[in-house]
């Protein structure tokens, strides 16, 4: 037995030789949880695609900064006509795609026309619906004409779905993405990682890193082990919140707590009884204790919200007081609605932990006011089929991660089926407004309107947590869009 142990130890030691070599300071390995299906951000909804390519490989006319504001991208400046229907973009001069072809107004026209074409498979085709024509004025000037003024047009152009691609490289874009960004795509080992290297011919501020690897680790336990073993340098969107205190206490690591555009809501089927009664919806909203859900399901991470809007946005209004936790009031409201004995409904829960863990807590809170919610766990495919498209549900929990998506409340056929003429008019007015002040006022009115109609019970803004080695600087703290922007990342000396 003695011999055996010593032998095992010796062979294990021998095998271990060769690991532990420190990586060069010009390289980084960042892990994210989900692997993209392919690498074309303009033809799928998967956020994981943007998590790899946005800002690193592909760029649009405008882009999101880490605080969610819109800054110039490939367009150096723009002019908006008086009536708000014509945008004339001036492009940066001398921009090259990674394959050496030039990026000019023709490529912009190609990209936008491709996205809005009849046979387009762009997942966010609505972003381009307002475009009437795209005209090339000269190689660095492009004119976009809209059918009607659209105050959010520059915002729309910052999405990953609106990045500029080239006709020369479009055919293989899914496996070999060719963009204009500060990093060039090197290779993708499916199931494992994507490797990028610095683009030496970048038109803007060059990347500080020579090489970046984005690894895909979906299992929370594996994520913890990989960071702890220092196999990876950072994990963006760390999936195991229960382990964060351990990293916070460890001087080898830093923990970045940021927010996302993910409004997590308990959605109600506004057209199905009894949720077609506003009193019932109000009762549900008062029956929910947000903090208990954040503490119990999210390990304390997340900001309570009272409406469908991101708290880090300057136009946000804190309306949590309108639906404060008050079970007695909830019972009274149910009695007013003629449901003093409560009622039974269904609670559909998609796979993410905010829904599955949060759902258990919410079901218990609803039970306390007499509402029996039968929990039905579903996969995303089923959720899309039965809840989202079939509208066959009472309650469901989902996080709406698209940025600035309050306008979904103007779609009466959207899955929670809120049909309010007043709100729809308000959104039309918003589209016609381009000045910031006017837009803020309208957005605030909109937030109050949906909170007052108790369309859904608003729970919390999803947190975004990054765990990184202590020496890394320049990582995005917030996630205004799904992205792992490495262009400004470097190692401290």
């Amino acid at each position: 037995m003695h011999h055996f142990t010593r032998l095992a130890l010796a062979s294990a030691l021998a095998i271990s030789a060769g690991t532990g070599a420190a990586l060069a300071q010009g390289e980084i390995t960042v892990a994210i949880q989900l692997e993209p299906p392919h690498l074309d951000p303009t033809s799928a909804a998967a956020g994981a695609i943007d998590s790899v390519v946005y800002a690193n490989i592909f760029e649009g006319l405008t882009r999101f900064a880490s605080d969610g504001s819109i800054i110039p991208g490939l367009a150096e400046s723009w002019e908006i006509s008086e009536d708000g229907t014509t945008y004339t973009f001036t492009l940066h001069d001398g921009v090259m795609f990674h394959d050496g072809t030039t990026m000019d107004a023709e490529d912009v026209k190609f990209s936008l026309d491709r996205a809005r074409a009849e046979d387009s498979t762009n997942a966010q085709k609505a972003l381009f619906a307002g475009i009437q024509s795209v005209d090339v004025v000269d190689p660095t000037t492009v004119k976009v004409t809209l059918g009607a003024p659209d105050g959010s047009f520059l915002f729309n152009m910052a999405w990953g779905d609106a990045v500029i691609v080239a006709p020369e490289s479009i055919e293989n874009i899914k496996s070999t993405p060719i963009g204009t960004g500060a990093f060039k795509f090197v290779n993708w080992t499916q199931g494992d990682s994507v490797v990028m290297e610095k683009n030496p011919d970048y038109w803007g501020t060059p990347a500080k890193l020579d090489k970046a690897t984005i690894k895909f680790i979906s299992d929370p336990t594996a994520a913890f082990a990989a960071v702890m073993a220092e196999d990876i340098d950072a994990f963006a969107g760390f999936p195991a919140p229960e382990n964060l205190p351990q990293f916070e206490a460890d001087p080898r690591f830093q923990v970045l707590n940021g927010s996302t555009e993910g409004e997590t809501i308990l959605a109600m089927n506004n057209k199905a009884a009894p949720f077609d009664n506003v009193k019932v919806r109000e009762a549900v909203s008062h029956a929910i204790d947000r903090q208990a859900i954040i503490d119990g399901a999210m390990f304390g991470l997340g900001t309570p919200i009272g409406t469908h809007f991101a708290p880090h946005n300057p136009a946000y209004v804190d309306l949590t007081g309108m639906s404060n936790y008050d079970p007695e009031k909830a019972k009274a409201l149910l009695a007013e609605a003629g449901l003093a004995d409560g009622f039974e409904t269904t609670l559909h829960l998609p796979p993410p932990s905010y829904a599955r863990r949060g759902g258990e807590i919410i079901a218990a809170q609803l039970a306390a006011v007499g509402i029996t919610a039968e929990i039905i766990n579903v996969e995303w495919a089923q959720w899309l089929e039965s809840v989202f498209r079939g509208k066959d549900f009472g309650l469901t929990i989902v996080s709406h991660t698209e940025p600035m998506d309050i306008n979904i409340y103007a779609r009466p056929d959207y899955y929670f089926q809120y049909d309010s003429k007043a709100f729809q008019d308000l959104m039309t007015k918003l589209n016609g407004t381009t000045d910031t002040e006017g837009r803020t006022a309208i957005l605030q009115e909109a937030q109050e309107m949906i909170a007052g109609d108790y369309v859904n019970a608003y729970l919390f803004e999803l947190a975004f947590t990054t765990v990184a080695k202590a020496g890394i600087q320049g990582l995005w703290v917030n996630a205004p869009t799904q992205a792992t922007d490495l262009t400004g990342v470097s190692w401290a000396d």
Binding site: T19, P37, Q124, A126, A222, A229, E385, E402
Partner: protein, 315 residues
């Protein structure tokens, strides 16, 4: 021998045909439209329709079944809906991880189980036997992913001898590849070794009570000679069965271990494909696994005949 093999081969083909129908039906019946999953909740109906047409999802189901089976017979597994690359290429790439991992684990499991089982049988009822049986009891009871996590905790996080997971690719050298697969292989091998050791022991104990063992001793063989020449060889039949089953299990059943060690293997491919409703990938991989399992069973049947001449003469 030939007739025996042909009979086995026929049953192999029938099993495959039945399996293909069952797999297709089960996977196609599950709800979820691959195009809808890819385009997300903001997709417009016309966008969905053009993607469905692009993916070939707009033809009737029976036609898709025939295309699928027809393609597979010619070695064409179709094109993945989400990755848009040939399924055969994807499977080949993932096999480079899964197959060596399964073989590695099987080798380890055999190397542990044979000595342990033979030792225990030879010392039946004594201390050594008790110790081996106790250890295997534990090995059978504890799930492999728990072993995996403990191994990571000890060897990756505390001792830093191994990485916590991932696979660098064989182009980084045989050594780097084997090194990366060592912890997963051990985690997979331990429970299998425990089962195998128990089977080895009980098979051997049965054999040791047989008349021919007494005869062997009577003609002057030592205990040890009798054990090796007559005992172990006869105990191999049940052991081979288990090894065959284990190989299939290791190939198909490493999904959890591949998650824990984030290895780009077949299990992870299936897992991702299921959540993305990449039906053609799921169908083809499952079909391939069925093929592998049935083929392994076929080979085990043939191997029986080789180690046991009595089976050859039977029809």
């Amino acid at each position: 021998m030939l007739r025996y093999s042909l009979k086995r081969l026929l049953s192999l083909l029938i099993s495959l045909a039945v399996a293909s129908v069952v797999i297709f039906l089960v996977i196609e019946v599950a709800p979820g439209d691959p195009a809808a999953i890819m385009l997300g909740i903001n997709a417009q109906p016309d966008t969905l329709a053009s993607l469905r047409a692009e993916l070939g999802l707009d033809v009737p189901k029976w036609e898709r079944y025939l295309n699928w089976v027809g393609g597979m017979v010619q070695g064409d597994f179709g094109t993945s809906y989400t990755y848009r690359t040939p399924v055969a290429d994807m499977i080949a790439a993932r096999m480079q991880v899964s197959l060596p991992l399964a073989l590695y684990a099987l080798t380890l499991s055999t190397l542990i189980a044979f000595p342990a089982g033979i030792y225990a049988a030879a010392r039946r009822g004594r201390g050594g036997d008790m110790a081996v049986m106790g250890a295997t009891q534990l090995g059978v009871a504890v799930p492999n992913f728990w072993f995996a996590m403990m191994l990571v905790l000890l060897f990756a996080i505390n001792l830093r001898w191994f990485g916590a997971g991932g696979f660098p690719g064989w182009d980084k050298g045989l050594w780097a590849g084997l090194h990366a697969l060592t912890l997963p292989a051990i985690a997979l091998a331990l429970p299998q070794a425990a089962i195998l050791a128990r089977v080895m022991r009980s098979a051997l104990i049965d054999i040791l009570g047989e008349d021919f063992m007494r005869t062997a001793r009577a003609k002057g063989l030592t205990r040890r000679q009798a054990l090796w020449r007559h005992g172990v060889r006869n105990a191999l039949i049940p052991v081979l069965t288990i090894i065959g089953l284990q190989f299939s299990f290791l190939l198909a059943g490493s999904i959890i271990i591949e998650q824990v060690f984030y290895l780009p293997g077949l299990g992870r491919l299936v897992f991702q494909a299921i959540s993305a409703r990449d039906l053609i990938v799921v169908e083809s991989v499952v079909m391939l696994l069925v093929f592998a399992v049935i083929t392994v069973n076929f080979l085990v049947d043939i191997a029986y005949a080789l180690v046991d001449p009595r089976l050859r003469s039977r029809t």
